[in-house]
């Protein structure tokens, strides 16, 4: 086994990932079978709580050009849609009665965004679509409406606010990465709906906080973040490793 391919520690299996990113899983195992030590290498890259080699080493690459920016949006919409679908499916919801139908709307809007982007990417950039992401919501307590000061996990509203604010900042920051006006226009049509969602959820947590500045926010201006900064936050909620390095290149 080559030292250069060995993971440096159990928390950072990145050196293995480029291997898998470039070849399909089936061809990887054919390759692994023919290469002494490669299987052991793949297993060494797994952290303890992951049961299959593939889940540990899956690195999601987003490609380049407008397809990469659309796939970036598609990744975030997948996460949002999965989160709200889980909220909508709760048999006992901690949300207030008046909030439940609105959260059902949020779930539908995000599912529409996800399905629309998937369809548009497949139509206009065939073969570039990213895989279905596996959400990881273990930092969210779905029995809590809002987290208490002593809670370590997010409540449903806290998570919704995080997702919506992040989505707005992501679309705002990604706009300049588009090369064509068609997709910039579509992103603009989606981001203002995300901002409406964000304002609604924020008002539920703290009435009147629909556009309140936090941290380094500039008065009257929403946030904008690079894909790298967005994934630094979104990664918490996804099993696969998200690679922002080529988005918009």
């Amino acid at each position: 086994m080559s030292d250069t391919l060995r993971p440096t520690d159990s928390q950072s299996p990145q050196p293995v990932q480029p291997l898998l990113a470039r070849i399909k899983r089936r061809s990887f195992f054919m390759y692994a079978g023919a290469t002494a030590g490669a299987t052991a290498l793949a297993l060494a890259g797994c952290s303890k709580d992951e049961t299959t080699p593939s889940s540990a080493a899956t690195n999601v690459s987003f490609g380049t050009g407008d397809a990469s920016v659309l796939n970036y949006a598609y990744a975030l919409e997948q996460l949002e849609a999965a989160f709200y679908a889980k909220v909508a499916a709760l048999t006992t919801s901690p949300l207030l009665a008046a909030e439940v139908p609105y959260f059902a709307k949020l779930a539908t809007h995000e599912a529409i965004h996800r399905d629309f982007l998937r369809t548009a990417i497949n139509r206009d950039f065939g073969g570039t679509i990213i895989p279905d992401l596996t959400p990881k919501f273990d930092s969210i307590d779905f029995t809590k409406r809002v987290k208490a000061a002593t809670d370590t996990k997010l409540g449903i509203l806290d998570a919704a606010k995080a997702f919506e604010d992040l989505g707005v900042a992501a679309y705002n920051g990604a706009a300049k990465l588009f090369k064509g006006s068609v997709y910039l226009g579509i992103a603009g049509q989606i981001v203002s709906v995300e901002a409406r969602h964000a304002a609604y959820v924020r008002d539920l947590i703290t009435p009147g906080s629909f556009a309140t500045n936090e941290g380094t926010d500039v008065l009257g201006f929403d946030r904008q973040l690079t894909p790298t900064a967005v994934f630094a936050i979104a990664q918490t909620f996804v099993e696969q490793k998200l690679d922002a390095s080529t988005i918009g290149q």
Binding site: I112, R118, A175, G185, G188, V193, R196, F210, D222
Partner: protein, 304 residues
């Protein structure tokens, strides 16, 4: 000079370039024989004419776009000034929210004013007595009706920014303008909540059926069209309204037309799930052209 290399280079910088020429085939067919094509394609005169035609209508200067945005922000800021001064807003959360929104509109005015100057233009101006301002005679007497105007102005503002963002591709202005755009959407959502409406635009909105406000939800231009706007002490250009392609109405169910590909029908065309028209419409906000926004049936009709 190689015509085809130029096209390739242009396509790299502007993927829509081939759409700008009515179509690639039409361009080449219009050139006649192979020999004529070769001769013509090396002619600077031919290329100049071709590109001038292809890029006509997208020639607004950044200062034009900024002055257009500044016009709307001045209108909003002055509306909120009058709204607060009228003394009808309940004290507490409602008054605080309108005050917050007013400070945002003032911040937008200040930013855009400076941006026009930095871009080498003359900013439009407005005050409580002159220039761009909300027509005081249109301010309704009651809080509930005043709040309707706030909703129309905010929803229209969101549509207006959306309608022109693409013209800022490749400039440093795109991102800050979009950061304003999504703040306007947050305002719109909050005003709608204050009015007991859904935070997003939906087919069942009360104002969508209200004759006085209906225009903000539909599209097109009722009065005469124009390509220059003389307001607030200066004149700026806006793109000519294309009557054949009015902006989609907010109830639009189709999205994503690209090149020669038709838009997808959101209700049944994007997968195995069928979506209700109300959700399909609400999930996407729609743009408005500048001529539509400034038309007398919409924001233009609210100017003093």
């Amino acid at each position: 000079m190689n015509f085809f290399n130029i096209i390739d280079l242009l396509a790299e910088a502007d993927p829509d370039v081939l759409d700008r020429f009515s179509s690639r085939r039409a361009v080449f067919n219009s050139l006649g024989t192979v020999a004529q094509r070769a001769a013509l394609a090396t002619s600077p005169l031919f290329l100049g004419a071709l590109f001038q035609k292809a890029y006509a209508g997208t020639a607004s200067l950044p200062t034009d776009i900024l002055n257009y945005a500044l016009t709307l922000e001045l209108l909003e800021a002055d509306f909120y000034r009058q709204f607060l001064a009228a003394g009808q807003i309940p004290a507490g959360a409602a008054f605080d929210a309108i005050t917050v929104i007013k400070t945002h509109e003032d911040a937008h005015v200040a930013y855009l004013h400076d941006a026009v100057i930095k871009a080498g233009g003359t900013p439009v101006t407005g005050s409580s007595t002159a220039g761009i301002r909300f027509n005081p005679s249109l301010l309704p007497a009651t809080y509930a009706d005043q709040l309707k105007y706030a909703q129309v102005l905010e929803d229209t503002g969101v549509r207006a920014y959306k309608g022109r963002a693409a013209e800022l591709i490749g400039t440093d202005l795109l991102t800050p303008v979009l950061q304003i755009h999504s703040i306007e959407a947050r305002h719109a959502a909050h005003i709608r909540t204050m009015r007991g409406q859904q935070p997003w635009v939906s087919i069942g909105d009360d104002l969508a059926a209200d004759a006085n406000y209906k225009a903000a939800y539909t599209s097109g231009v009722a009065s005469s069209t124009r390509t220059t706007v003389a307001l607030g002490g200066t004149t700026y250009g806006i793109p000519a309204f294309n009557p054949a392609q009015p902006s989609p109405q907010e109830s639009n169910l189709q999205q994503g037309a690209a090149g020669t590909k038709l838009a997808l029908l959101i209700t049944t065309g994007i997968g195995s799930t069928t979506y209700l028209p109300d959700d399909a419409a609400a999930a996407f906000d729609e743009p408005l052209q500048a001529a539509e926004v400034l038309d007398s049936s919409r924001a233009g009709g609210l100017l003093a």
